[in-house]
C-alpha cells in the first residue's frame, strides 16, 4: 500500500498526509519562491550586477547589515541577562515579564513601528530627553549638563528616530525574544551539580559563571544571536516608520525592494530579493549546522 518499503508503522494515512503536505508545500511555498530565482536566472550578469551593486543598493546593504548586527549583539547581552534573571531569581511581576518577552512576536510590526517612532521622536517620552533644543537635554545630556560634566560626553549630535539609531532601535525590539527564548531553556536545564562542584573546588562565583555556566550556554546564545540577526535582515514593518527611509542613509534593503516595485522595475526588485534571500538562507544553514554540532558535542 505504501509508497515506501522502509515504513514500519502500522498506522494509516501516510500516503494521504504526506501527499497533501508535499503538494501544499510545493504550491504555496516552493513554486512561488522559485519564481524569484527563475526570474533572476533570466537576467544577464551585467544586468544583475547593475541591479544589485549600484551605490544606493550597496548603501542599503550597509545600513541593513550593520544595524542588524548591532541590534543582535545588544540583544545577545541583554537577552542573556533577561533569561538569567527569569530562570534564577524571584521578584514581583516575574511571570508578567516572562509573558511580555514574546510581545515582538505577537504585536503586528506596523503597530510596533509607529509606537517606537512616537516614543523616540523629538517630542516622545524618551526622545524629548535627547532633543538638543529641549530643557531636559540642556540640564542633563548637553556638554555643560550633568552627564557632560561627569563624563565629558557630548550627546548633542545623537538623534534617535529618523536616523540610523532608529533602525537599530526597531531591530533591537524585534530580535529580543529570539535570544531569550533560545537561552532560557538551556539555563533551566543546566545541572546545578556543575555549579556546586565548581564552587566546592574553590572557584569564585565569577569564575564559576564565566568558566562553567557560560560555555554551556554559548551554543544557544550564538543560535539566538543568529536567529535575531536573520530576522532583522528581512524586517520591514517596524523599521520603515522610525527610519525615515533616506536613500544612501537609512533606507533598508527590504524598503528598496518595495521602491523598485513602485517604479515597475521588477527585474531590479527581484535581483535584490535574491541577494537578500541567499543571505538569510546561508545564515539559517549556519544555525542548523551549529545546532547539530552542539547536540553532538553534548551527546558525547
Amino acid at each position: 500500500m505504501s509508497l515506501f518499503r522502509r515504513q514500519r508503522s502500522a498506522l494509516p494515512g501516510l500516503n494521504l498526509t504526506l501527499g497533501f503536505t508535499v503538494l501544499y508545500l510545493g504550491l504555496v511555498v516552493l513554486l512561488p519562491l522559485s519564481a524569484a530565482f527563475i526570474r533572476a536566472f533570466g537576467m544577464t550578469w551585467e544586468e544583475f550586477g547593475a541591479a544589485v551593486a549600484s551605490p544606493r543598493v550597496l548603501a542599503s546593504y550597509r545600513i541593513t547589515f550593520l544595524a542588524s548586527l548591532a541590534a543582535a549583539l545588544v540583544n545577545m547581552v541583554f537577552g542573556l541577562v533577561v533569561a538569567w534573571v527569569l530562570t534564577r531569581y524571584r521578584f514581583p511581576g516575574k511571570r508578567l515579564v516572562d509573558a511580555l518577552v514574546d510581545l515582538p512576536f505577537a504585536l503586528p510590526t506596523a503597530v510596533a513601528g509607529i509606537a517606537l517612532t512616537s516614543i523616540y521622536a523629538k517630542n516622545g517620552w524618551v526622545g524629548a530627553w535627547l532633543d538638543p533644543d529641549g530643557r531636559m537635554f540642556q540640564k542633563f545630556f548637553a556638554h555643560e549638563g550633568l552627564l557632560g560634566r561627569l563624563t565629558g560626553l557630548d550627546l548633542s549630535g545623537l538623534k534617535l528616530a529618523y536616523s540610523e539609531t532608529g533602525v537599530f532601535i526597531a531591530l533591537t525590539f524585534i530580535g529580543l525574544p529570539f535570544v531569550v527564548r533560545t537561552v532560557q531553556p538551556v539555563l533551566e536545564e543546566l545541572d546545578p551539580g556543575l555549579e556546586e562542584a565548581s564552587a566546592t573546588l574553590g572557584a569564585s562565583r565569577w569564575k564559576t559563571v564565566t568558566r562553567v555556566v557560560l560555555p554551556e550556554v554559548c551554543p544557544a546564545l550564538i543560535t539566538g544571536f543568529a536567529l535575531a540577526f536573520a530576522r532583522a535582515l528581512g524586517e520591514y514593518g517596524s523599521v520603515v516608520f522610525i527610519s525615515g527611509n533616506m536613500p544612501m542613509r537609512t533606507e533598508i534593503t527590504p524598503f528598496l525592494i518595495i521602491t523598485r516595485l513602485g517604479e515597475y522595475d521588477y527585474r531590479g526588485a527581484t535581483a535584490i530579493a535574491v541577494v537578500l534571500l541567499l543571505a538569510s538562507f546561508v545564515l539559517l544553514l549556519l544555525v542548523n549546522l551549529l545546532q547539530k554540532w552542539s547536540r553532538r558535542h553534548h551527546a558525547v
Binding site: 498506522l11 533577561v82 505577537a106 504585536l107 562565583r205 536573520a230 520591514y236 527581484t270
Partner: protein
C-alpha cells in the same frame, strides 16, 4: 529543531529544576549582583517592550474616547477590519489542516527525505515579508507568469487561457493575493508546534486503538486529537496573531485601495502617513489588544500543558 522564532510547547514543558529548588549558598549570586541584573533586565524590557505598548493606548486616547470610537466606526476602518477577518478565515484553517497533516506524516512515520521536509516547512520564516509579497506578484502579476500566459500568442491549453481571460480574475492587488501572501508567511506556525508535541507522544496509544478495532479516523479523533489539543491551540493562536498583523507581505500585494484592499495594518499605515495620528493609533490599539490576548492565552496554555 532548526530555526524557531517561537518557543515550542514541548520545549517549555520540561521541568525547571534549577528555578524551583532553592539553590545552595555556594551557587548564590551576591545580593548586589542580583539587584543589578534585575534592574538591568527590567530597564531594558521597559524601554523596548512596555513603553511601546503603553504608547499605543496613550496616543489612541489622546483626543478622547469619542474620537477613539469615531476612528473605529469609520467606514474605511470597518472595511479594513472585515478584510482582515476574511483573510484570517482563509489562512488559519488552511494552515491548520496542513499543520495536522504534516505533523502526522513527520511524527508517526519514517520516510526518506524527512529532515529535508522539516527544513522546507520552516523556510517561510527565513524569507523577508517583502519578498513573500514579491514572489506572488512575480507569479500572478501582469508582468508575472500568469500575465505572460494570458498574453501569449500561442499558449499551452488555449481553452484555459480563454476561460481565465473571460472571467478577468485578479489575484494580486486584490483580496486573493492578500490571502495567499498571508498563508505564505503563517505557513509553518501550526506544523512546527505540532511536530515536537506528536513526536514526544509517540504512537503506542494509536496502535492500541487500531488493535482494538478503531478506524483510522476514529483513532485520530478520539486518541490523537485529545493528546495534541494544547499544542494545536497554541499553534493556531500564534498563526492567527501573525495573520491579522502581517504588514510587509500584504503591503506588496495589496492594491492600497481604501475601503477595498486595505487590511488593518495597512489602514494604520495610511492614517499615520496622513498625520491622523490619533486615528492610526486607535486602529493600532485593536491590534495591540489582539497581541495582549495572544500573550495571555499563550501563558494559560503553557500552564495547562505542564499541569
Amino acid at each position: 529543531m532548526s530555526a524557531s522564532p517561537v518557543s515550542t510547547l514541548a520545549r517549555r514543558r520540561r521541568p525547571a529544576a534549577a528555578a524551583t529548588a532553592a539553590p545552595p549558598r555556594a551557587t548564590h549570586d551576591a545580593p548586589w549582583v542580583r539587584w543589578l541584573l534585575i534592574v538591568t533586565a527590567l530597564g531594558f524590557i521597559t524601554a523596548f517592550l512596555v513603553l511601546p505598548l503603553a504608547a499605543v493606548f496613550t496616543e489612541a486616547l489622546r483626543s478622547g474616547a469619542g474620537a477613539y470610537l469615531a476612528a473605529l466606526a469609520d467606514p474605511d476602518a470597518l472595511a479594513a477590519i472585515r478584510l482582515t477577518l476574511l483573510t484570517v478565515a482563509f489562512a488559519v484553517p488552511a494552515n491548520l489542516v496542513f499543520g495536522v497533516a504534516a505533523a502526522w506524516a513527520v511524527a508517526k512515520f519514517d520516510f526518506p527525505g524527512k529532515s529535508l521536509l522539516v527544513t522546507l516547512i520552516d523556510l517561510p520564516f527565513a524569507v523577508s515579508p517583502v519578498i513573500a509579497g514579491l514572489i506572488f506578484v512575480l507569479v500572478f502579476g501582469l508582468h508575472g507568469w500568469l500575465g505572460q500566459y494570458l498574453n501569449a500568442a500561442d499558449p499551452w491549453l488555449p481553452a484555459l487561457r480563454d476561460w481565465l481571460a473571460a472571467r478577468d480574475i485578479r489575484i494580486v492587488f486584490a483580496t486573493p493575493g492578500i490571502v495567499l501572501a498571508t498563508v505564505f508567511v503563517t505557513f509553518p506556525f501550526v506544523a512546527r508546534e505540532l511536530i515536537p508535541v506528536m513526536q514526544t507522544q509517540g504512537s503506542d496509544e494509536e496502535h492500541a486503538a487500531l488493535t482494538l478495532g478503531a478506524s483510522g479516523w476514529q483513532t485520530f479523533r478520539r486518541v490523537t486529537l485529545p493528546n495534541i489539543k494544547w499544542g494545536l491551540f497554541y499553534g493556531v493562536i500564534l498563526c492567527n496573531a501573525r495573520a491579522m498583523g502581517e504588514f510587509g507581505a500584504v503591503s506588496v500585494v495589496s492594491g492600497h485601495i481604501r475601503g477595498e484592499t486595505n487590511t488593518m495594518p495597512l489602514h494604520v499605515e495610511i492614517l499615520y502617513n496622513e498625520y491622523q495620528s490619533a486615528a492610526a493609533f486607535s486602529v493600532a490599539s485593536l491590534l495591540a489588544l489582539l497581541a495582549i490576548v495572544t500573550l495571555v492565552a499563550k501563558a494559560i496554555i503553557e500552564r495547562q500543558a505542564s499541569a
